[in-house]
C-alpha cells in the first residue's frame, strides 16, 4: 500500500491505496465521489473524465499514485452549493442527455474545452473536441447544443478551477 495525498474539489484528501488503484477507483471507492463513471475502462468513452491540475484526463487510465500532490476536480466540484455550474445548467436546459451515464464526462470535457478554446464555440469545434466522449443514447445533437450554450454562459475566464 502507498499513501497518496491530493486536493479534490478544493479539499485536501489522502488515503492508502495499492499502486494498481486507478484514479477513478480512488475517487469512487475511497472518497465515495461516485459522479465520475467507468464506462469502457479502455480510455475511449470518456465517462471517467476529471480535471487534474486543470487539464481533462481519463481517470480510468491514470494511477492514483501518479496524482500525488495534484489538484483534482470532479463533476461534484462544479456546482456551488445549490447553484449548478453553467455547463450543468445548459445540459439540463437543452436536454443534453438521456440515460445520463456519459454526462459527467461530457460536462468535464466541455468545461475543459471552454477553458482552452474560449466561450464562443462553433459546432465543428465542439464535435471535434468531443471525439473522446461517447454517448450511446442521444446522437449528440443536444449535447452539442448544450456545450455551446454552457460555453456562452460561463464566465469569460477561469471557468471551473
Amino acid at each position: 500500500m502507498a499513501k497518496v495525498s491530493m486536493v479534490v474539489n478544493g479539499k485536501p484528501v489522502s488515503g492508502e491505496v495499492e499502486p494498481r488503484t486507478l484514479l477513478v477507483h480512488f475517487l469512487r471507492e475511497t472518497l465515495r465521489l461516485t459522479g465520475t463513471h467507468v464506462g469502457c475502462d479502455t480510455s475511449q468513452c470518456g465517462a471517467c473524465v476529471v480535471h487534474v491540475d486543470g487539464a481533462a484526463i481519463k481517470s480510468c487510465t491514470t494511477l492514483a499514485v501518479s496524482c500525488e500532490g495534484a489538484h483534482v476536480t470532479t463533476i461534484e466540484g462544479l456546482a456551488q452549493g445549490d447553484r449548478l455550474h453553467p455547463m450543468q445548467e445548459a445540459f439540463r436546459d437543452n436536454h443534453g442527455l438521456q440515460c445520463g451515464f456519459c454526462t459527467p464526462g461530457m460536462i468535464m470535457t466541455a468545461v475543459d474545452m471552454v477553458n482552452r478554446k474560449g466561450n464562443r464555440l462553433d459546432e465543428t469545434t465542439i464535435r471535434h473536441e468531443l471525439e473522446g466522449n461517447i454517448c450511446r443514447c442521444t446522437g449528440y445533437h443536444n449535447i452539442v447544443k448544450a456545450v455551446a450554450a454552457g460555453a456562452a454562459n460561463m464566465p469569460a475566464k477561469a471557468a471551473a478551477e
Binding site: 495499492e18 481533462a56 487510465t61 499514485v65 501518479s66 473536441e129
Partner: protein, 260 residues
C-alpha cells in the same frame, strides 16, 4: 488490474537505477490499457511523471528538442514547435482525443512503436534522432518492427531531436480509436524527400520509396496522381483490407501535400 509495485522517479538516474525487471511508465495511455488486458504484465513500474528534466521543448541550433515526457498537448500548442518544425504541432493535435493528449507523451509513443501511432511517421520522415540515457539513435535505425525498437532493456528515451523542416502530414483516423488507419508524413529537407507511412504497414512505420522518387522531381500532390502503395505487406483487419489501405496511402500522401 493485477498487482505491481510502483516507484515515483525523481530524475533520469533515479529512474534507470530503480527499473530492475520493471517498465517505465510515461503518460500511461497505452501501457495501462495494455496491462489491464494482461497483454503486458510488468511487476514493477517506474513512473516518470515527476521527472522535471524530461519535460519541455527547446531549440538547439538546427534542431528542435522535444524532451521525452512532453505531453502531446504541449507539442500541439507550442509556438516554438510550430515555428521550428511547422506541421509537427498539427500532428500532435491529431493524436487520440483531448484527454489522451493531456496525458500521453512523445517518449511513450516512440518507445511503444505502435504500428498505427502518429509520432513514428514524423520521426522517420524528419529523420529525427532518438536520444536515450546512453546513446543517440537515428530514426532510420530505431523502428525495427511491430511494437519493437532498437532500445535495449533498461534504456530510457530522454528526448527526440527533430531537424528543422516543414512536416506535411495527413491521416485517416479510425473513427473510434483515432489511431491512424493510414497516416503519411512527407518532408523535403537536407536529406532530400522522405515519405513515411504509419497505420498500415504490417511491420510498422515504413518509407514509401516510389513516392519519394516521384517527389524528388516534382514536389507536389500532382506528382503522386493515381499512385497507390503496394498492398503486399499491408495490415488487413475489420477496419480495412490491405488493398483499401494501400489505396488510402496514395490519397493521404496527396492530401498531406495539398492541405498542409
Amino acid at each position: 488490474m493485477y498487482e505491481f509495485t510502483h516507484h515515483a522517479a525523481t530524475s533520469v538516474a533515479d529512474a534507470v537505477g530503480a527499473l530492475g525487471e520493471g517498465k517505465f511508465l510515461a503518460g500511461g495511455q497505452t501501457l495501462l490499457p495494455t496491462m489491464k488486458q494482461r497483454l503486458a504484465m510488468p511487476g514493477h513500474l517506474v513512473d516518470l511523471g515527476k521527472v522535471a528534466e524530461l519535460r519541455g521543448v527547446e531549440e538547439k541550433g538546427d534542431v528542435l528538442v522535444v524532451k521525452a515526457m512532453t505531453r502531446h498537448v504541449e507539442v500541439a500548442t507550442s509556438a516554438l514547435v510550430a515555428r521550428a518544425v511547422p506541421g509537427l504541432e498539427k500532428l500532435a493535435g491529431m493524436i487520440g482525443d483531448p484527454a489522451v493528449r493531456n496525458r500521453g507523451t512523445i517518449g511513450g509513443s516512440i518507445a511503444n512503436n505502435d504500428p498505427t501511432a502518429d509520432y513514428p511517421a514524423a520521426c522517420l520522415a524528419l529523420k529525427a534522432t532518438i536520444v536515450t540515457n546512453t546513446r543517440r539513435i537515428s530514426a532510420d535505425d530505431y523502428f525495427t518492427g511491430l511494437f519493437s525498437t532498437a532500445l535495449e532493456d533498461g534504456e530510457l528515451i530522454t528526448a527526440v531531436e527533430f531537424p528543422k523542416a516543414k512536416l506535411h502530414y495527413a491521416k485517416f483516423p479510425n473513427p473510434a480509436s483515432r489511431y491512424a488507419m493510414v497516416g503519411v508524413a512527407i518532408v523535403k529537407g537536407a536529406d532530400g524527400v522522405r515519405v513515411a507511412v504509419t497505420g498500415s504497414g504490417g511491420d510498422g512505420v515504413f518509407r514509401w520509396s516510389e513516392a519519394e522518387a516521384k517527389l524528388k522531381a516534382d514536389f507536389s500532390a500532382g506528382a503522386l496522381e493515381g499512385m497507390k502503395a503496394d498492398a503486399a505487406g499491408m495490415m488487413s483487419d475489420i477496419h480495412g483490407s490491405a488493398e483499401y489501405r494501400a489505396h488510402l496511402v496514395g490519397v493521404m500522401a496527396r492530401r498531406a501535400l495539398s492541405e498542409s
